[in-house]
Every structure is written in structure tokens, then in C-alpha cells.
């Protein structure tokens, strides 16, 4: 395959993975690789990245696609694998083990010996040995069979379980503590731990890369690229996020809110011009000999909306409510006031948990522990929750308030009490409903979202950060 086709294929893969690559960028990439020595794999990768990836959150996706797409083509295109060849590693290994020299290297070792060696490699931070062990471990423990339709994560799990990294980490810490004269201070202990953890993390990455390499060898690059496709952080579905994805989302949310806050503040300042400021215009006209050549306008002062969030925090939609609350509070400076209520079948005000708190995570923990949201059985009952809300706090909704309701409207076949929403709508400036379910599922089963939606100013599907951001921007 000539270079042009190879790159075209790669760019197609990137587009499939959701990265926007324009034609200009495509041409730039072609031009860029002409200036880079092709046998330098790292330089090749950075040249492609600089021309094709224009957003840092896409970097990880790019890297994965790159690894997979180019991993099997090494020999043909002289993009040599930067890893040392096997023999060299074997030599290193035998040097390190001393006694085991000539004994067939890693293959002939018992699992105990392998574990011992891993321990030493981690202790010394020896990259090459770690790489070799990662390879060996995958071969030995992952139980990979050709053609078996199992995902990479399964093999990863099996391999890592056998390596018992937690145990090794503990041993490393023990050893470090014993070695230090007069014991370690807390700070030293923490630093040592950080160091070992980062080494273990590197090993884990090696194992992952090795598994990927083998899978590609088995199934071919194109097929693998498809299975490895991961959604971008802003497109991860709240309802089905894995634990890792949730952590990733938590990290992504802060920069996103910061951007949004800047944008809203700007919008407020640079909005339309206000009415003519007569006094100011006359004053400025003096420098033009009394001719009002430069009319001055009053700056508009748009009132900031008051936000009332009412969120369902029952099992299935809890993650969604958490992210939305976090989002709203992170930009609370853009609103005159934010009040929040949570419910399952009972309802409770939780504004107090957020007041004077720096860390929103803390507040959310406290909500989960302390809010009084269960009335009978702890299954969502929108009707009862709304009714109670209206009885206790309904008077406090004014023409300045924007009410946001969060939930999937799965009411467990209780009475809907949709009249409450209608009453709220009459008092409030706006009422919006955010639903974390895909539109296709609305009004199926016990979902009665359109019964409530009929009285709202808008019902929005809100399944990922992108949609959430868009909605909140619309609010400000």
C-alpha cells in the first residue's frame, strides 16, 4: 500500500472514532510526513497528531487508533517497533537474575520466580525488564485463544489478577520502610508510594499494549479499531458510564464549567446595547463643539435568573442528578440564587449542603447521607414528591425563578399529579425538564414524561456533558 492510501485509511479510522478531520488537515498531514524520517515512529506520530488532532481531549482516542492501525504495519513501512528485540531482553533478564542465565530466560521460569522478578524490576524501575515481563505475563496468564470473540478488558483482567500487583505494591512499601533508617516520615512514605504506583501503572499500560498487539495480530487492525472505539468524554452516556468513565467525567466537568462561566459572563456584558444615555452623550458632545457626534448608551443590566433545581436521586438516575447539580453549582455565580431539592418519593431541600462548601463532592456525599427523601418505600414517586414540594415551597416560586426538573419520569405507575407542574409553570418564569433517557424510550413502560412535559417550557434529552452544557448555556 502506498503512503497516501495508508494515511487515507488512518484518517478514515479517526473519523469513524468521532474525531473531526477536515480536508485541509488531511492534506497537511500528507505534507507533514514528507518531512519526517519514516523510521522514527515517535516523530511520525507527533507529526500526525500536530496536524490532525486539534483538541486535547481527543488525544487519547488518537493514540489508541494510531497504535492499533500502525502496529501491524511495522515491517512493511519501516516504522520499526521501538521495543528492543526479544533476544536483547532475554540477555538483560539473564544478567539481572544472574543464576538463571542460559536457562531459557523467562519461558522456563516458575510463576514464583516471575513474580520475584517483577518485584525486583519494579523496585529498580527497570523499564526493559518490565516490558519483557508484561509480554511474558500476557502470554502465560491471559489465556488468549485465536478467534475467540472476547474483549481486551477480559484478558487484561485475567492477566493482572495473576500478577497480584496490589500484593507486590504492599511488599515494595514494606521493604522501603524497612530499609529507611529510623523509619519513614509520612511525607517520605507518600512519595515512595507515589513512585511505586506510577511504576505499576506503567506496567499495566505495557500489559494493555501487549494485549492489544496480540489482538491485532489475531483479528487484523481494521476489526480491532472498531472494538476499541471509545466515546469522547463529553459524549459518554451518564446512565451507562462505567466507574472509570465516571471519574473521567468528574475531571472533565470542571474545565467545562469554567469555559461556560466565562462565556456566560461575556454574553452578559456584551449583550445588546441599552437605551441612549442622554447625560453622557451631552458631556461627550462638548469636545466636538456641542455636536453629539458620539452617542453614548446605557449599559444594560440583565437580571440574573434564580434557579430552582428539583432532582430525582433514585438509583438509576442518581449519576445524572449529581452531574447536573455539580454543573449548576460550579457556575452559580452566574445566577442570583440557586436552590436545590432532591426527591425519591419524599422531597427535601438540600441548598444548605452547598452553602460555603468548596468541594462539591463533599456536598453530594452529605446529600446522599443526610437528605430526607424517602417517604414510603424508596421507589420513585414523582407525583407525591411534586405535591409535597408544592405544599411546602410552592409559595417561594416567583416570576424570577427558573425551575429545572431532573429525572426520567419513571413513576412506578403512581398518580402523576401533573397539575402541580402546571401550577408551578404559572408562578415561575420558566420550567424545564431534563431527561437522561434517550428520546426513543420516553413514554414507554412507566415513563410519563410527556404528561409532565405538556406543562413545561421545554423538555430536553440530556444524556451527556455536551447536551448538559448546551442546556445550561441556554439558561444563562
Amino acid at each position: 500500500m502506498p503512503m497516501v492510501d495508508l494515511l487515507a485509511g488512518f484518517i478514515q479510522e479517526l473519523r469513524n472514532a468521532g474525531l473531526p478531520v477536515s480536508l485541509t488537515e488531511n492534506l497537511d498531514a500528507m505534507e507533514a510526513v514528507r518531512h519526517i524520517p519514516l523510521d522514527d515512529r515517535e516523530a511520525f506520530k507527533y507529526a500526525l497528531a500536530a496536524t490532525l488532532v486539534k483538541n486535547n481531549s481527543h488525544w487519547k482516542t488518537f493514540e489508541t487508533v494510531f497504535e492499533v492501525y500502525f502496529s501491524m504495519r511495522g515491517a512493511h513501512y519501516k516504522i520499526t517497533d521501538p521495543n528492543a528485540s526479544d533476544e536483547e531482553i532475554e540477555k538483560l533478564v539473564s544478567q539481572m537474575m544472574g543464576e538463571a542465565s542460559g536457562g531459557g530466560g523467562l519461558e522456563g521460569m516458575t510463576p514464583e520466580e516471575l513474580a520475584e522478578m517483577l518485584y525486583r524490576a519494579l523496585q529498580a524501575g527497570d523499564q526493559n525488564t518490565m516490558k519483557a515481563i508484561a509480554r511474558q505475563a500476557v502470554q502465560r496468564f491471559s489465556g488468549m485463544e485465536p478467534g475467540r470473540p472476547v474483549g481486551g478488558t477480559y484478558y487484561l483482567y485475567r492477566t493482572l489478577r495473576n500478577l497480584d500487583l496490589d500484593g507486590i505494591l504492599e511488599r515494595l512499601m514494606e521493604e522501603a520502610k524497612n530499609e529507611a533508617e529510623g523509619g519513614m516520615t509520612d511525607l517520605e512514605e507518600r512519595l515512595a508510594k507515589d513512585e511505586y504506583e506510577s511504576r505499576v501503572d506503567k506496567l499495566r499500560k505495557e500489559v494493555e499494549a501487549e494485549i492489544r498487539r496480540r489482538l491485532v495480530a489475531d483479528r487484523g487492525a481494521e476489526a480491532m479499531a472498531k472494538t476499541l472505539r471509545k466515546p469522547l468524554p463529553e459524549e459518554v452516556d451518564f446512565m451507562h458510564a462505567t466507574r472509570d468513565e465516571l471519574t473521567m467525567l468528574r475531571r472533565a466537568i470542571y474545565p467545562l464549567t469554567r469555559k461556560l462561566a466565562v462565556r456566560l459572563a461575556r454574553k452578559r456584558r456584551h449583550g445588546r446595547k441599552g437605551p441612549l444615555d442622554f447625560r453622557n452623550t451631552v458631556r461627550h458632545s462638548l469636545s466636538y463643539g456641542g455636536v453629539p457626534a458620539e452617542p453614548k448608551f446605557k449599559m444594560p443590566r440583565p437580571s440574573k435568573p434564580e434557579i430552582i433545581v428539583i432532582a430525582d436521586i433514585s438509583g438509576s438516575v442518581a449519576a445524572f442528578a449529581r452531574f447536573t447539580l455539580q454543573f449548576v453549582y460550579a457556575i452559580s455565580a452566574q445566577f442570583s440564587k440557586v436552590r436545590s431539592f432532591v426527591f425519591i418519593d419524599g422531597v427535601d431541600e438540600v441548598t444548605r449542603f452547598f452553602e460555603g462548601v468548596d468541594d462539591i463532592q463533599d456536598a453530594i456525599h452529605r446529600i446522599n447521607a443526610e437528605a430526607d427523601v424517602i417517604w414510603v418505600d424508596g421507589h420513585s414517586d414523582y407525583g407525591h414528591a411534586f405535591e409535597t414540594f408544592y405544599e411546602r415551597w410552592g409559595k417561594e416560586i416567583t416570576k424570577k425563578s427558573t425551575v429545572i426538573l431532573l429525572g426520567d419520569a419513571r413513576n412506578n405507575y403512581h398518580a402523576s399529579q401533573a397539575w402541580v407542574i402546571k401550577a408551578i409553570e404559572q408562578r415561575a418564569r420558566h420550567v424545564y425538564w431534563l431527561n437522561p433517557e434517550p428520546k426513543a424510550y420516553w413514554d414507554t413502560g412507566d415513563s410519563i414524561v410527556s404528561e409532565y412535559g405538556a406543562h413545561c417550557d421545554g423538555v430536553f434529552e440530556c444524556r451527556n456533558l455536551k447536551q448538559l452544557e448546551k442546556f445550561v448555556e441556554h439558561l444563562g
Binding site: 473531526p20 477536515s22 485541509t24 488537515e25 497537511d28 505534507e31 507533514a32 518531512h35 519526517i36 524520517p37 522514527d40 515517535e42 516523530a43 507527533y46 507529526a47 497528531a49 500536530a50 496536524t51 488532532v53 486539534k54 483538541n55 486535547n56 488525544w59 516520615t185 509520612d186 511525607l187 512514605e189 507518600r190 512519595l191 508510594k193 507515589d194 513512585e195 504506583e197 506510577s198 474545565p255 469554567r258 469555559k259 466565562v262 462565556r263 461575556r266 456584551h270 468548596d358 468541594d359 463532592q361
Partner: protein
């Protein structure tokens, strides 16, 4: 096409090192490509990771003059590109009148005259284009201007020229190296991104950061530098409002050297945390985590 400035990626890295900027493979590669492809570089990343420093170092490295355009809200073309020196133009017209005293001066002559180079005030972008000597153009914090203003930059970034309606198009005498930096407070427009090479500068790895500390502050000992960067890494792993940047690491290292500390213990680290962290809540949190071993 002008002669390329650099031989290879490796030479870029070595030369950058000679001006005390430690570039990794990615940084050197992008700088090299920018020269070869004659494209601007868009540098993004957290504050204090050496984005502006990179442009300055490259300028030092190739012995070029650095022209800097600091972006801010409300920046317009009269501040970024060019402006007519209208006071001088007025004087010129007045002078003409005095000379001819009541005679009808030829208006077209005057008009041609007052819209000439003599009355043009160049601003950074035009200056970079017209410079005869080698220049590096730094457009700093481009995310601060409004989306509409970004369009001002497009012509210069893709064609290295500026169109002035009264004067015609000014083309670059030489293609300058252009750096744009962004703190990522907003998404830049697609049009701008498309015209640039993209470089993301993140916090450096442990080893690189240690080297940076050692190069920048020669008085620091190897042992201390090692401790410093490890503590900084530890702090960066905590969830904070604002993580310590490279420049803050350097400030901290300088402080410790000034205080004559050779071996940082927890108490000393805690006392000087305010140099690394700028939020009270962050300082409290990090202080707690560092002293009470934050077992995960």
C-alpha cells in the same frame, strides 16, 4: 520557498536546550514541522507550563526579534493590525491649505498622499509581516478575544499577508514563525484551528521536570530537585482547584534554596505550600494530605 531554519527534529531539541528550554520529542517535532510547512503553531495547555516561554526560547534560539501581541477582550484591528495616523493626516491637510492659501488644492493628490505608508501606524501583526529582520510572532492568550475578532487573524495566519483597503495588500517579506497560545478558557473556532499545527503542553514528566529545575536553578542540588519534583507530582495527583504549574515549581525551588533547606520535611513543605498553591482551600487540603499519609 525560504531555506528551512532547522536541520532535523533532533537539532531543534539540542538548540532549544542550549537556550535553557528542555523540549521533549513532541515539542521539538512540532516546531520543526512549523518551519517546514510554514504554518503557525497553536499551543494549548494549563497555565504555567511554558507556552509563552517556548515562543521566547525559539526566538532566542534563532536570534530573531520577538513581536508580541497580547490579546484581551475588545482587541480590534486598530490595535492588532494597523491604524491611520489621523492626527498627522489632519496636519498634512492643514499644511496644504496654508501653502495654497485659498487656492483649490488638488484633492486627489492629497488623498493619495495621506493614505500612504508615511501615515500608517503599524501594530504587531503588520509589523511582523513587514519586518526585514528575522522575527518570531507571538499571539498570546488568543482565547481572550471574542470569536468575531479571531477572524482578524485568519488572513495573516494562512497567507501571511494583510489587506489594507486604501493601500492594497501587504505581503510578508519573509515567513515568520508564529506561535499562538491559549489557556483553553473557550473553544477556538474551527477556522483558526485548521490553519495551525496543534501542540498541547501538559505538566512535564517527573524526569523532565527535574531537569528543568536543575537547568533553571543551578544552585539546587540533585537530591533537593528530586524531592521537589516528587512532592509536586504528589500534589498534582490530589484533586485541587488549581494544580501547581512548572513556574510555581521553580519558584518553590528558589524559595527552598534561599531558605537554605537541603532536605524538605513535611512541616517545611507545609509552611511553604502557599508558593505552590494559590487557593486557601487547596493549601489546607494539600497540607492535610501530605502530613497524614493519604492512603488510597
Amino acid at each position: 520557498m525560504a531555506d528551512p531554519r532547522f536541520e532535523s527534529v533532533a537539532s531543534v531539541r539540542d538548540e532549544l536546550q542550549s537556550v535553557d528550554y528542555l523540549a521533549d520529542e513532541g515539542i521539538a517535532g512540532v516546531v520543526y514541522l512549523a518551519d517546514r510547512l510554514q504554518k503557525p503553531i497553536l499551543v494549548e495547555g494549563p497555565a504555567g507550563t511554558g507556552k509563552t516561554e517556548l515562543a521566547k526560547s525559539v526566538a532566542r534560539m534563532i536570534g530573531a526579534r520577538l513581536i508580541r501581541l497580547q490579546c484581551y477582550e475588545g482587541l480590534d484591528e486598530s490595535k492588532a493590525l494597523y491604524e491611520w495616523n489621523y492626527k498627522k493626516q489632519l496636519l498634512r491637510i492643514q499644511a496644504q491649505r496654508v501653502v495654497e492659501e485659498g487656492g483649490t488644492g488638488n484633492w486627489t493628490d492629497i488623498e493619495e498622499d495621506i493614505f500612504s505608508n508615511e501615515f500608517l501606524l503599524t501594530r504587531p501583526l503588520l509589523e511582523a509581516i513587514r519586518a526585514e529582520d528575522p522575527v518570531v510572532l507571538l499571539i498570546d492568550e488568543v482565547d481572550r478575544v471574542e470569536v468575531e475578532t479571531e477572524a482578524l487573524l485568519l488572513e495573516i495566519l494562512s497567507d501571511y499577508q494583510v489587506s489594507i483597503p486604501e493601500l492594497g495588500t501587504v505581503e510578508a517579506t519573509q515567513i515568520p514563525l508564529v506561535f499562538l497560545t491559549s489557556n483553553n478558557t473557550r473553544e477556538l473556532s474551527e477556522a483558526l484551528k485548521r490553519r495551525c499545527l496543534y501542540l498541547h503542553l501538559d505538566y512535564p514528566t517527573l524526569e523532565r521536570e527535574k531537569e528543568i529545575v536543575l537547568t533553571r536553578i543551578p544552585e539546587v542540588s540533585d537530591h533537593l530537585a528530586d524531592q521537589i519534583v516528587r512532592i509536586v507530582r504528589s500534589i498534582r495527583s490530589i484533586e485541587l482547584k488549581k494544580h501547581p504549574s512548572v513556574s510555581e515549581t521553580l519558584d518553590w525551588a528558589r524559595t527552598l534554596v534561599l531558605l537554605g533547606i537541603e532536605n524538605v520535611d513535611a512541616a517545611q513543605a507545609k509552611d511553604t505550600l502557599h508558593i505552590l498553591l494559590k487557593y486557601q482551600s487547596d493549601i489546607l487540603k494539600a497540607g492535610k494530605e501530605l502530613t497524614v499519609n493519604g492512603a488510597v
